[in-house]
Each structure stands twice: as C-alpha cells, then as structure tokens.
Symmetry: C2
Subunit: 477 residues, 2 copies
C-alpha cells in the first residue's frame, strides 16, 4: 500500500491548485508527454486511443449527414491567405512561415495552415460550376498550427489535431441550415458520448471567427467554473465566395455565388473530458469513449484458479472493451493505476469471490462497490456502464447549473463573477463597448447568446440601455 | 452513347503515353485535384475513401502485432535533426524550413518533419529507463514533407500521407525480427488486399535509408515495366540510440543501448494500385479495397418497377459496399463512369431481366458478363468479387513474371534493360562502383537483393569479379 499511496499523493488536489492538478493528470495518466518542440505536445498511446474513439464516432455522425473526407495541402501560399481581408487579419499574426525549401529560399513564403478556408475556397472555385455540383460537403482530419506564446496540453498548443468541415451551398438558407446542423452534431456527440452538457448559442461579433457572418458555439463548464469553447460552426454567407470567385450557374442559367460554412472540433475537447469529469484520483472517462471500459483485477492472483477465473470473466465480457491486469504489481497499485487512467469500472475477483460464485464491481466515478453473481456479470456490467455514462452527464449538468448565476445589475454581475466561478447570465445591449468594459472590469468574456433565450430584464447589465439579448458570460480557457 | 464515347476518348491510351494515361486516370477518376500549392495535391473524396480503406486494414494488422498509435509534433528543431550524422545528410537538402512564428523570427529554425526518427528518439530517451519499458511499438499516421523539384500525384509530392512505425527493443535480434515482421505485414497486405505481388528483399548500402544499418523493401512492377518501391522497413541497430543516448537498465542492472526499427508505407501505394491494375478505360480497383464494390445500373429506369427492383437487389447485397446509380444519365454514360472509377463489378437490371427473374453481372477487370438468377444474386456477387480479387493478383503476377529477365553477361543485361521494360535478375559483386556504372549505362538501379536468392552465375554481371548476391535491377519511379 506504500506504493499506492505514493502514486496517489503525487497528484495535486484539484481544490488546492486546479492548473497543477490538470498538468499532473495529463502526465500521470500518460495522455501526453512534453516534447522538445516548443509549444507542441506528444500524444501518447492512451491519449491517442481516446482521440481515435472520438474520431471514429464523430466521423460516423458526419458521414450520416452526407459528409465526405478529403485531404488538402498543409501549406498556404501568402497570397492565398490574403485573399479574404478579415480572415488574414485574424490569422496572419499567429501562423508559422516556411521561407526555405531544401537549400533554396522560396519565391513566395507559405504558412503552415492555421485553418483551411482559403485552400477549400481555391479548390471549390475549380470544381464548382453548376448547381448540379452543389452542395459540397467536405471534411478533413488533420493537424493545424497557430503560434501561441503560452501553451497547455490539449487546451492551447502550437500544433493541434482537429477536423475541419467546409461546405458550399446554392443558397444562404441551406448554408444556415448546415451551420446549425453541424453544431447540433457536435452538441449531441458531446452530450451522448462524452457526457458533457453543452450550451448552444451564437458568438457576439467580437468573438466570431475571422471572416464569418455568424459563428455558433458549444460551451461547456469545467470543474473549476471556467468555460471551454468546445466546437464552433461558422456561416460565411457569400463573403469568401466573392473573394475567391466561387460561382455556379443556377437552373435559370444565371451566375450565382455559393454560400459556405465551416465547422471544427479539436483535441481541445480532451481537455474538457479531463476537467469536467476528473477528480483527485485522476481521470474519469465516460464509458462510451474509454479505450478500456473494464479492468479486471485479480486478488491474490498467485492462488490456484484466480487468473483462470479472471480470464473466464473476460471471455464473458466480449461485448465490452476489457483488460485483465495480471502484472506482478500489488492489487492496491493496480487499483490506483486503473483510477488514474479513468477506466470506468473495475472487477475485483479473488479466492473468496470465486468460492461464492461472485465478483465485485467498482465504479470509478462514485467508488460504489456492487457484488454480483458471476452468472449475471455480463448483464450487470452492461447496465452499470450505462448507468455510469448517464450519471456522469447528470452530475456534470448539476455542477453547471449550480455554477450558473443570474445578474440584473452590474453590481450583481461583478459580485457573481468575483465570488463564485461559473457562468453568469445577463442581458446585453449588443454594443462591443460593454463587452470590452466587462472584460476589463472582470476578465469575463461573452461566451455566447444562447439559442434558448430568457428575458431577465429590459436593460443591458453594463450600460443600462435597452437589451437585445441574454448572454452567457464567464472566464474561459 | 455520344457522351460515353467522349468520356472514354478523353483518356490517353496507356500504350501510347503511359505517363499521360496515369495523369488522365487520377484526374478523371477524381482521385486527385492539383492545387495552387506547388508540388502538393488535393486528395478528393474518392481517392481519400480508398486511402481510408487502406488505413483501416493496415492499422488493424499493425495492432494485431501489438503496435500502438501516437502523435508526434510536425516540426523538428534543426539541432535535433542534426544529432544523427547520416540522417541529417540524407534529409537536410529536402526539407521545408520554418523561420518565423507569427511576426517574430525564430531563435532556432525548425523543419517540417520529412520523417520522425529524431522526434521518436528524443521521446524514447525520456520514457525508456528499464527493460520493463521495452519494447516500445509505436506508430503514427500523419503527413510529411520532402521538397521535390518535379512532382506527380501519389508518386512524388512535396507533402504526402503515410504511417511511420518506430520501435525500440532490448536486443538486436528483437529489432531484426520486428524489421522483418513489418516487411511481411506490408507484403501480405499488398498481396491480399491490393492484389499486387511483391518482391521482398534487402536494399544495397547505396539505396538504404539515411541512418539505417539495413533497409528491407517490397518492390512491385508497374504495367509499363518500371519498378515501384512500395514500403520499407529499417533496422537501425543502436546507431540512433547512441546519438540520442537512449539507454535502459537490463535485468542485471547494466546500462544498455536500445535497438530500433522504423517502417513506412505512404499514399505512393495508390500509384501502384493505379499502375498495376488500370487499363484504357480507367481505374480497376481490387474488391477488398474498393470504396464501392458493386454499382447497380438500372436499364430503362423510367419503366415501371425497374428502380424498385434495383433497390431490392441492393437490399439483398447488404454484405457488400453497393450503390445504385439512379441519376438521369444514360446507361452507357453510367457504364463509362463505373469503369473509369474502377468499381469491380456492375449489375445491369432492366425490364427484360426482371421478366426473366435475372440480372447481368459485369466484371470490370475482364468485362465478362454473367447472367444470374435474382434468387442467387448475393451468393454469386460474393463469389465473383472473390474471383476478381484472385484473378487480379494472378494477372499482375503473370505480368511481372513475363517482364522479369535474367542476365549473366553485361551485354545480356544492357540488352534486357533496353529492349523489354521490367526487372532484370543478375549477380552482383557487392561494390557500389558497379551499381553506379550500371545506372550510368542503363539508368537502371538495384531494386533489392531478394530474400529468395538464386545462383545465376559465379561472377558479377558488371565487373566479372566474384558475385556476392543476386539483385533485382530495373528502372524505377
């Protein structure tokens, strides 16, 4: 038990220092290793296996809506990046520039893609001619690069993995429908697979994507009360189409500009999984996304029949992702490892259990122990994994709700932000000046204007002018 | 039929101009689009769907051997690239250099990874301490960048997609076994899934990977008689371990260097699929890797019951990847499209077929038509797809065998290379001077020293000195 203690003690408690707790978990659960490449992370097998599960499920959901995958170049020539004015202003300050190829300087420097709107637009201008060519519903899984001064694994890194969808449509209505559809795909995915409740809403002009007409977002609340933007979906109208001359001939033989969208979700979501569900023993993974759902840990495994029984149980659990930890470590050490890695449940099986034809199921999320007969173990495991998945969502939602305040006056607002970390709902006049003032006074930013609006007051919480919308405010990652 | 003719005529015949035929096929089958990023290609949905099938099957085979996926940074600081002398000499002339991040010049420039040995070594030196940490069997799927002067889609592009496996072992024997094991995984995959026969062998010192002790390769013969290196597996011995100080404590508490391997297969293999199996009507895809295995094409689809029957047939073929082409194009046009895209078989179903309770199966590879009763269609489709897969392999092997010559004298050698494109088997003394001379005289290079050696003569085909090995020679992509 000395070893176990050491392992557990080596994590900082989340209440003591949440940032250090986060760093400890990503390292000790072996999700990530720091690299000697500044600002870039190494995603280790356990972290990458979670990402693979995310990819697989999200990709399946994309394809169900007609999306096809492609692969675009990783470089963007400077002249191409500059074609859309707002876009280049947004991204040029944070890209990596390639200036030499082999031993020669390049005639035109190229950036490593920070996002690929300009490449897709260039592509679409070549392949879209007629209304018959529409819609185009393309997506790519790739890595992108944004030069960051301060970085944290998953949350903010110079290079990160993501998918970026880029679509072109005949009409603005279709583009709008797709923008909302993909936001819903993200929200459903996060709620059903990751057990993370999301606020769906629209970004203010200040916070929207460079070049977009409107940006929709899903926002989650972390355990420490800070918000995390978890996925965005943008409607570009015909702005990019005009800049890149993407026109098609409609049914009446008239030239029309296409209307476009883009939408992305990145490895940042790994940060949300960690910070929504984790606890002082480490990671807690939702069963649907966990690389290993059940760890079977034999007790007194040197005794006759124990390992055989552990294997027999594994055989019965073929419908789940199950491992047996038959290493030569102590059971206590194995428990700690299973907990650190957030494996949703473990099954303890020892000589006394075998005698009683039973095993002990232990939930990672609540630590509850449930004794079950071996004959029922497959059924009970399935039920318990479903229960854990549901309970994790419910707990995350309860935490968010209890960390969401309402403010009508500016005093209430400042007090809410200062005293209890979380979302604050408040009315807003629509002026950027108030957003700026709120940020200066409190460091909170507008997270979104939620689709589910409430009428809290008639006037803006900041300036007192007539209110246009209710906004979720909060400090954010 | 006018439209159909136009589509087919627009491909250059392979015998007339093989290079142009290749370019036509990648464009018309919509595998690739050229981009405005010099030397980089856009992989379109149809091309990417083939790559996804390759990834899925290869990844499954890797994982069966215990390999785990990770993700490493896309950048390599110059000082890290320089740590292994041979390696930097091999790659420095062909990398893209990032010199600026955002608006600031970098203190140390970084290249975009051309391959990731140096990053994995740096990583391994941090995480390997004891014999308990070995072996490490890591792989990543990513894009890499090598600056190329002349490029061709899939065959040679500045950026390409691949997987790169990197392993670390306690002993040289284990590293050697893994090097061979992965070469066998590649060869089996290519033969069973892609229907491409491979020569397995070892590269000469001249042709081996920069920094490797030995490089193994699988070599395929294209329809035009040129060779294509299709995958490689390298044994590094402890060379990189010494350069990067990757040591572990063995069971006797002694410090030891690890022994390493790496192995890669890239989107280049798409070029092999095209050039081994394609014909003058376009692509011919092996059924196991085809995104669509069967295209059902209704004849006189406006007539009552035809489209319904086509859908009914699709319903019966749920075990396969099947589409119905119910677009408003003519059947002839649809046939041409299905042939251009290399869909392994089509099913023609029209009013007369329905009356006779039958359908016509048409093989893409041989164009053979087979009339089958609708009650047997699932069974017959399954059989036919298997037959096509087998026959494609057999045909490719027969082509390779009939384009493999044997030379004992240098005159025979030069004549064989000049007169009939293909492999030439000949003995070699082991001296680089002879390889250089042969290349200068004939433009052929040593492809490999095959594992299956034959004794053709006692002396080197070039210099007449005692022979050390039989070598496959050929002109190559």
């Amino acid at each position: 038990m000395a070893k176990e203690k050491k392992l557990v003690e080596s994590i900082t408690s989340m209440n003591e220092d949440f940032a250090q707790w986060y760093t400890d978990v990503v390292k000790k659960a072996e999700l990530v290793e720091y690299s000697s490449v500044k600002g870039c992370m190494i995603i280790r097998p356990y972290g990458y296996a979670i990402w693979e599960n995310i990819q697989k499920e999200l990709d399946r959901r994309f394809k169900e809506t007609g999306v096809e995958n492609v692969y675009m170049p990783m470089f963007i020539p400077e002249s191409l990046l500059q074609k859309e004015k707002d876009h280049v202003e947004g991204f040029a300050p944070e890209v990596a520039w390639v200036t030499h190829g082999g031993l020669e300087p390049l005639q035109e420097r190229m950036c490593v893609r920070p996002t690929s709107e300009t490449l897709f637009c260039d592509f679409y201008s070549n392949i879209i001619h007629s209304y018959r060519d529409l819609p185009k519903l393309y997506n790519q899984w790739c890595s992108v690069c944004r030069w960051e001064k301060t970085t944290r694994p998953f949350l903010r890194t110079t290079e990160f993995l993501w998918q970026e969808g880029h679509t072109a449509h005949a009409t603005q209505e279709e583009a709008e429908a797709r923008t909302e559809q993909m936001l819903n795909v993200y929200a459903d995915f996060c709620e059903q697979e990751l057990a993370i409740p999301m606020i769906k809403g629209r970004k203010t002009d200040k916070e929207k994507f460079a070049g977009a007409e409107s940006t929709y977002t899903i926002e989650a609340l972390m355990h420490d009360g800070k918000a995390l933007q978890s996925g965005t979906s943008h409607n570009f109208g015909d702005g990019f189409a005009r800049a890149f001359d993407i026109q098609y001939t409609d049914k009446d033989n008239q030239l029309q500009y296409v209307h476009q969208t883009s939408w992305g979700l990145s490895t940042r979501i790994m940060g949300a999984i960690i910070m929504v569900h984790g606890d002082d023993s480490g990671l807690v993974l939702p069963p649907r996304i966990a690389p290993t759902q059940v760890m079977i840990i034999p007790i007194a495994q040197h005794k006759e029949g124990v390992l055989e029984k552990a294997e027999e149980i594994r055989g019965k659990l073929g419908a789940f992702r199950v491992k047996v930890d038959d290493s030569d470590k102590s059971p206590g050490w194995k428990f700690s490892e299973q907990e650190m890695r957030g494996i949703p449940m473990r099954i303890e099986i020892g000589p006394k259990d075998i005698e009683a034809n039973q095993a002990v199921l232990v939930r990672r999320d609540t630590r509850e122990k449930i004794v079950v007969l071996l004959d029922e173990i497959a059924e009970k495991t399935g039920e318990l994994l479903e229960t854990i998945q549901k309970d994790m969502y419910t707990r995350a939602k309860a935490h968010r709700d209890s960390h969401t305040a309402t403010a009508v006056t500016y005093e209430e607002f400042k007090q809410a932000i200062a005293e209890k970390p979380g979302f604050v709902k408040a009315m807003w006049c629509g002026d950027r000046a108030c957003e700026d003032k709120i940020k200066e006074d409190t460091t909170a930013t507008s997270r979104c204007m939620p689709f589910e609006q409430e009428h809290l007051a008639d006037t803006c919480v900041c300036c007192g002018k007539p209110a246009k919308a209710m906004v979720y405010w909060g400090k954010a990652y």
